[in-house]
């Protein structure tokens, strides 16, 4: 306790949220943000991803926290919501992406921001989820990690602008992997900061309905094929499809995934041809829907 950290003037946060999740966000996220150490002021932008009405009627200021709602006026996916926020707010140096049902450790923001400030080529700094920790692969010395999860990350604005933000073809799941990979390809680094802790009480036991579970399967599966296609072209696509075949999903599910991918392919999304040999330890597919090694 009582680490001396240089105070940060101002931090911008984007939180993509719908009305149903707002109460919890107010209880946990807002409160924990208001208690952050080492930060003078925090601007939290609530992106109303449903595009409908106004959901937040609470106070604009909670201690050092200011809350504002922005509305893309249509339903948007995860990536698109943040692209919209980025366009609207135009954050100067960095911004933080955070999930609504998170209780941030008091040092989380400063850990995230101070880490990205350390090096100019740190484009993404990822926070750490507890208590259900993701067994991430990262270099304990350099803290480099193949990809960062979008539940809690700091992003360098310059980089985000350069790469055109998230690829909104993903809608949900995997867009963070894609952003991370483009980070590596652009010569930046993706960093994991295990000291930036956010408590995310979701997963096994809480608010995880079978519907959501299903959606996660669907999007992560479709997006697995898409991302492999995006980085390894047709060859990658057929490899991914072969892997899909072996998965224990029902046939109709697989068919739906393939159909959805075919539709996406018709829109001719941008493809990085040839595959990124230079970054093979970062941009890699280790198995079905697996983009890094798991720690035990």
């Amino acid at each position: 306790m009582g680490n001396k950290i240089k105070e940060i003037e101002k931090v911008t946060l984007f939180c993509s949220v719908a009305e149903g999740e707002l109460k919890k966000a107010e209880a946990w996220l807002f409160h924990s943000l208001s208690k952050q150490r080492g930060v003078k002021s925090i601007d939290l932008y609530l992106v109303n991803y449903t595009g409908k009405g106004t959901m937040y009627n609470g106070p604009e200021k909670v201690g050092k926290l200011s809350v504002r709602e922005i509305n893309p006026k249509k339903q948007v996916g995860f990536g698109e919501a943040h692209n919209f926020a980025f366009e609207t707010v135009k954050p100067k140096d960095f911004f933080i992406i955070i999930n609504p049902d998170v209780y941030m450790h008091e040092n989380c923001i400063s850990e995230l921001v101070n880490k990205i400030k350390e090096e100019n080529d740190y484009a993404i700094v990822e926070g750490r989820q507890l208590p259900f920790e993701h067994p991430k692969e990262y270099d304990e010395k350099t803290l480099e990690t193949p990809w960062a999860s979008g539940f809690c990350m700091t992003v360098r604005s310059e980089f985000f602008k350069k790469v055109g933000g998230f690829d909104d073809n993903f809608w949900m799941y995997c867009e963070d992997v894609d952003l991370s990979w483009r980070c590596w390809l652009e010569g930046y680094k993706v960093i994991y900061n295990p000291r930036a802790i956010a408590y995310h009480y979701t997963g096994n036991y809480f608010s995880y309905t079978p519907t959501r579970y299903f959606l996660e399967h669907f999007w992560s599966t479709r997006n697995f094929i898409y991302i492999v296609y995006k980085y390894w072209g047709e060859e990658g696509e057929s490899r991914a499809k072969k892997m899909l075949k072996k998965q224990p999903f029902p046939d109709y599910f697989k068919q739906e995934v393939l159909r959805s991918f075919d539709e996406l392919k018709k829109t001719k999304p941008r493809v990085f041809k040839g595959g990124p040999a230079k970054y093979k330890d970062k941009i890699k597919v280790l198995g079905f829907n697996q983009y890094h090694e798991m720690r035990k």
């Binding site: 306790m1 109460k23 919890k24 107010e26 209880a27 946990w28 409160h31 924990s32 208690k35 339903q75 996916g77 209780y103 450790h105 008091e106 040092n107 750490r128 507890l130 208590p131 259900f132 920790e133 067994p135 809608w171 295990p194 000291r195 802790i197 408590y199 009480y201 096994n204 036991y205 809480f206 608010s207 309905t209 079978p210 519907t211 579970y213 299903f214 959606l215 669907f218 999007w219 029902p250 109709y252 959805s260 035990k296």
Partner: protein, 1161 residues
């Protein structure tokens, strides 16, 4: 008004009988025992008609506790308490609970071993129907009904729950409804149902989810989820959100409860303590929990100096502003700080029944979302046991976070907590929330010394002095870091603690020796505790299970003798009648005799028939579904229903009966023949939406029945066409039975079944039990009627129905159909698969009103004869609806009438006289075979009669051997045809011989029999039916032909398996070909039966004609069985032997008499 009623859904009538007997014994007489194919309907009926505000609905294999009344009361009060009187819909005893999606079973059945230790209702996301308590007040208030589209006996439990949740009513399982259930259901049935169209389409229409968790396994439905944007027109809901919402809304918060979190700490691990406090803070911030959260830090063995302590305290209070944190210090030098710090903390709390204590150590953390439910779940005076997850961690104390933290597979599930009561420390201390008063009392009354077993000591004592609730809420994360330091480094302290606590609890009488023995045994047999332990293993077992045996009691019931076996004789008679819009249907009056008494099945409802239904229409669902699943051939069957102005009330019933089909590959082609009735058309439009298999077409102009049916048939896609009238119903197994037949023989072209009638109240009467296919009978009357299923390729080939035969268009269709098929390709199902509704407005009540239909029928038969080059004319039958095909006799072959005799010339004379006087066919000879007559009178008569050139007398001077006598006579006979005739007969009608000859002349015919009457005009012979064990029985024996309204199926030309040789005609060369009568094995009896069976085996028909009538004074010459036994034991013994010979010879060949309906046995 009754508070509740108990309904038992029984699989069949036999079961009802069995249960009724049991109920009487155990005082359950008030239970309503119901059976039928449709639980959906039952539930709707119960909701609608049950007297009382609650209904308990149980399966037939459920054993209820004898004091179930009290349990129902308790279930109701528990549910009311938990969810509010207005908040719940259904209570049960098994299901998948809401919190963890895990199976809970307050039930003993073949699978479950462990019952969860909760006495409170647990909300569920699916429920098992073995026992359901319906809260009719709320169900009625919310107008809950079962989904209309689904019928049968699967998932009705789940769907009731779904409908309740849709209305915001929670359903739960409660130990108050504990039962012993003798069966675990049929997994195959379930698996099949969940992929059925009706179920999946219901689901898809209502919900977006693909996964449903049920006690029988996870169901995955091919549902469409809009991944990107929900279509605004799509009003479907997320099933689980509906449940969330319902449970949230009924969990009205009680008065504020205070949870005092007691955390024992040395203030050494400040970072992990911070994590705990973070989690507590997050919990306290949860909206609407109605809980007050306080923290008591019980500091012991603290090494910090005073100044640092103050610093820590100040820091904590500022960091966790708004959270009440009290710090207490355990007295220095305290020998057992871990237990005494709790004691001190507990005593520091101001006592109150809403004060609770949650002991959470400083390296654990709480799951804030769990607080959502706690206010409602915590009960004054009751110890609450929740669940915990363990995390394997490594900490670097310099850092404010664990270096590593991964959730372990070891979770403390409430289903395993029972172990605690058997001497095993299984519940982690932080998974328990105690009422402060309970802990206070424990510390007052028990001397707890020792440390490491304190948590176990507390829960052990608590469960003895207070009630304990287990509820599957995940309360805490437990940090497991490093090795188990206590056990390895402080073993002695561990052991001494254990000894001290055990000594205390044994001394206070809380533990008996045998508990430990049980515990030891349990430990040995069960091994370690795995993840979700028993619950998981159980769930896997459920998933893996196959088919289960039906309970023994039911099996026994099935073996019970059928009373109807006692019925000896029956008769059938039918009235040809004209159905609605001209469909001709045969109505059968059915008479049978039992124990000398004549019973009748009148056309109205009657008890006898209902008893028959109850006993014979066995509803062995699992068997049927097992068979269904194993069908290799599942053709599409198009059910054709031409609709015209029918009352929607009847049309609904008609369509519903199709929807209820167990066999699912059908389409229902409803063709509206330009009905003027708006109502009828509206009704059709309604049904069109219900199931994609229902196809509705509206005709623009009225085509009448044949035209309308043809249009509908043209559009049908099925391999088979089934005809159904728009106000009739088919039984739920109708198509199943049809396909079952097709699976036995794929070549079958036409299938028909038995049928009965429905009155306006849906009561059944007037069964028509038909024989198997007999073209001769069919030419006499259109008896196949309903239910008729026809191969479409043949229907197409013959161009469907023809116009101009209205009233008999189906008769015409079948006759043209069978021309394209073969006798062996026409199958009969001896089950009532079709219910014809008697409606006053139809012509059903007055068969005479539509004579034109009858005339059309005559035309139809005549055309058949013409097409098939049969020289015959169609005459009127005995009554409307019956025809008599009279064939032309080719040439005038000589018939030898063989009459063996031994004295008794009075009879002989009458017999011979009647032949000579009456017979119109003139080319015959009479061969009288004298078998050792001795009377003078006989000699005289013979002398006299020999003068007649038509008569020859032969002598057979050997002991009586009927076969030998006749064989001998045949060898002497000159005729091309032989007529065997008993000497005690007398001709009635003049053309008797012609009528027999016209049949005998047919190449396909082997033997021909006649109608023989007793002098009192009751029937002696109208054909012989071979019953079980090859027992030949004379049908209609003893029935008067003059009985009132008597119009009988015995009065038509038809096939039988055998006819009596008392009057039988056969071609001489054929007789010789099959070896004549068997002189060796059938010297005196059954020689005629044996002969007929030999002929049948060679492929010849045995024809019975009622148009040859004779009196037969049977028994007068040889006496009956009893007389024979007394007077001539030797011959009687021979008779018995020959009966055995018959059985031995033909048992394999005749499993079932095709020409007699097995239901008439």
């Amino acid at each position: 008004m009754k508070k509740y009623e108990v309904f038992r859904l029984c699989r069949d009538a036999k079961t009802i009988e069995l249960i009724a007997a049991q109920n009487k014994e155990f005082g359950f007489e008030h239970q309503k025992l119901i059976t039928g194919p449709d639980y959906f309907d039952f539930l709707d009926q119960i909701i609608e008609t049950c007297e009382g505000n609650y209904a308990l609905v149980v399966h037939d294999d459920v054993f209820l506790p004898i004091n179930i009344e009290h349990k129902i009361d308790k279930a109701i009060s528990d549910m009311d308490k938990e969810f509010g009187k207005e908040g719940w819909g259904v209570a049960g005893n098994a299901g998948v609970e809401y919190f963890n999606y895990e199976a809970v079973r307050y039930i003993k059945d073949p699978h479950s071993a462990v019952v969860p230790n909760s006495s409170r209702p647990l909300p569920v996301i699916s429920i098992d129907g073995n026992t359901l308590l319906l809260n009719l007040k709320t169900i009625r208030k919310n107008k809950i009904k079962m989904p209309k589209t689904i019928r049968g006996f699967h998932m009705y439990d789940f769907l009731l729950l779904v409908e309740c949740y849709k209305a915001g009513l929670v359903s739960a399982v409660t130990p108050a409804l504990y039962v012993v259930h003798n069966s675990g259901g049929n997994q195959k049935d379930f698996d099949q149902f969940i992929v059925s169209d009706v179920f999946t389409s219901y689901w898809k229409e209502n919900f977006i989810n693909r996964n449903i968790y049920t006690i029988n396994g996870n169901i995955e439905i091919k549902n469409t989820i809009d991944y990107l944007k929900r279509n605004s027109k799509d009003k479907r809901k997320d099933f689980y959100s509906i449940i969330d919402k319902a449970i949230d809304s009924v969990r009205k918060k009680d008065s504020v409860k205070t949870i005092n979190i007691i955390t024992r700490t040395q203030l050494k691990r400040s970072n992990s303590l911070k994590r705990l406090l973070d989690s507590v803070k997050a919990g306290s911030l949860m909206p609407d929990t109605n809980l007050k959260i306080k923290v008591i830090l019980a500091v012991n063995n603290c090494t910090l100096d005073e100044k640092s302590l103050v610093e820590v305290e100040t820091r904590l209070k500022s960091d966790y502003e708004g959270l009440e944190i009290n710090i207490i210090f355990c007295p220095e030098g305290e020998h057992f700080p871990r237990v005494s710090s709790i004691k001190k903390a507990v005593q520091s709390i101001e006592s109150g029944e809403n004060e609770f204590v949650w002991i959470v150590d400083d390296d654990d953390f709480i799951f804030p979302p769990s607080l959502d439910d706690l206010n409602k779940l915590l009960t004054p005076g009751t110890v609450f046991i929740g669940e915990a997850s363990s995390f394997s961690e490594s900490w670097d104390e310099k850092k404010s976070f664990p270096l590593r933290s991964s959730i372990q597979s070891i979770n403390y599930h409430t289903n395993n907590s029972y172990r605690n009561f058997f001497g095993e420390n299984h519940v982690p201390v932080s998974a328990v929330i105690y009422p402060q008063l309970v802990l206070k009392r424990i510390f007052e009354e028990y001397e707890l010394k020792g440390d490491y077993f304190e948590d176990y000591a507390l829960i052990f004592i608590a469960q003895n002095i207070a009630s304990v609730e287990m509820y599957p809420v995940h309360l805490v994360g437990i940090s497991v870091h490093g090795n188990n330091t206590i056990v390895s480094t402080d073993r002695a302290r561990w052991d001494y603690s254990y000894a001290t606590f055990m000594s205390e609890i044994v001394n206070k009488g809380l533990v008996k020796k045998h508990n430990f023995e049980i515990a030891e045994k349990a430990k040995r047999s069960e091994g370690g505790f795995g993840a979700h332990g028993v619950a998981e293993a159980e769930l896997n077992a459920i998933k893996a299970r196959k088919i289960y045996k039906i309970i023994k009691g039911i099996e026994k019931a099935k073996r019970a003798p059928r009373k109807l076996k006692e019925i000896k004789q029956k008769s059938l008679h039918s009235i040809r009648r004209n159905g609605l819009r001209g469909f001709a249907v045969t109505v059968i009056k059915h008479t049978y005799r039992t124990k000398g008494k004549v019973w009748q099945f009148p056309n109205s409802n009657n008890e006898e028939y209902h008893q028959w239904i109850a006993k014979n229409e066995k509803w062995d669902v699992s068997r049927a579904h097992y068979e269904l699943e194993n069908f290799k051939y599942k053709p599409l069957i198009s059910v054709i229903v031409p609709v015209y102005n029918v009352d929607p009330k009847w049309l609904d019933k008609c369509v519903e009966s199709v929807l209820k089909q167990q066999y699912e590959n059908w389409e229902l082609c409803l063709y509206d023949d330009a009905s003027p009735s708006e109502e009828t058309r509206k009704c059709l439009l309604k049904w069109k939406k219900v199931d994609p298999r229902i196809k509705v077409t509206f005709g623009k102009k009225n085509l009448h029945i044949s035209g309308a049916s043809n249009v509908a048939i043209k559009e049908a896609k099925g391999e088979f066409i089934a005809l159904l009238d728009n106000d009739d119903e088919i039984s739920s197994d109708a198509l199943f039975e049809v396909v079952k037949v097709l699976n036995k023989n794929k070549n079958i072209d036409m299938i028909y079944s038995d049928e009965d009638k429905l009155d306006l109240d849906g009561k059944r009467s007037g069964p028509f039990f038909k024989p198997d296919w007999s073209l001769d009978m069919f030419l006499s009357t259109m008896y196949t009627c309903h239910f008729g299923v026809y191969r479409k390729s043949i229907i197409d080939k013959i161009g469907g129905f023809r116009e101009g035969y209205e009233g008999s268009q189906d008769y015409d269709l079948v006759l043209r159909f069978v021309e394209q098929s073969k006798d062996e390709r026409i199958a009969h199902i001896p089950k009532i698969l079709y219910h014809w509704r008697m409606i006053e407005t139809s012509t059903a009540y007055n068969p005479n009103s539509k004579l034109y239909a009858y005339e059309a029928g005559k035309k139809v038969v005549a055309e058949f004869l013409q097409r098939n080059k049969i020289k015959a004319q169609v005459k009127d039958g005995r009554s409307l609806g019956f025809y008599h095909v009279e064939r032309e006799i080719e040439g005038s072959p000589l018939v030898s009438i063989v009459i063996p005799f031994k004295d008794n010339v009075d009879y002989l004379e009458k017999c011979v006289d009647s032949i000579l006087k009456k017979t119109s066919y003139k080319n015959y000879e009479i061969i009288l075979v004298d078998n050792q007559s001795s009377e003078e009178k006989t000699k005289k008569y013979l002398q006299k009669i020999q003068k007649n050139s038509k008569i020859r007398v032969l002598n057979f001077n050997k002991p009586f051997n009927y076969s030998a006598i006749n064989n001998f006579a045949v060898s002497e006979a000159k005729g091309k045809y032989i007529l065997f005739l008993n000497n005690d007969t007398k001709v009635i009608n003049e053309d008797w011989l012609s009528r027999m000859l016209e049949q005998a002349e047919r190449e396909e015919v082997g033997a021909v029999g006649a109608l023989l009457l007793f002098p009192d005009k009751t029937i002696q012979h109208a054909g012989v039916v071979i019953q079980e064990n090859v027992s030949p029985v004379h049908v209609y024996y003893g029935i008067s032909i003059n009985s009132k309204g008597y119009v009988d199926l015995m009065d038509v030309i038809r096939d039988y398996s055998a006819v009596t040789a008392a009057c039988m005609m056969i071609r001489k060369n054929l007789f010789e070909k099959v070896g004549g009568f068997d002189e060796k094995d059938f010297a005196i009896a059954y020689n005629d039966i044996d002969l007929c069976l030999k002929l049948r085996k060679e492929g010849y028909k045995i024809i019975y004609t009622p148009y040859a009538r004779l009196y037969h004074y049977a028994g007068k010459t040889r006496g009956d069985d009893d007389e024979l036994r007394e007077k001539n034991p030797k011959r009687y013994a021979q008779f018995v032997q020959e009966k055995k010979n018959l059985k031995d010879k033909w048992l394999e060949y005749i499993p079932n008499d095709p020409f007699y309906n097995p239901n008439l046995k």
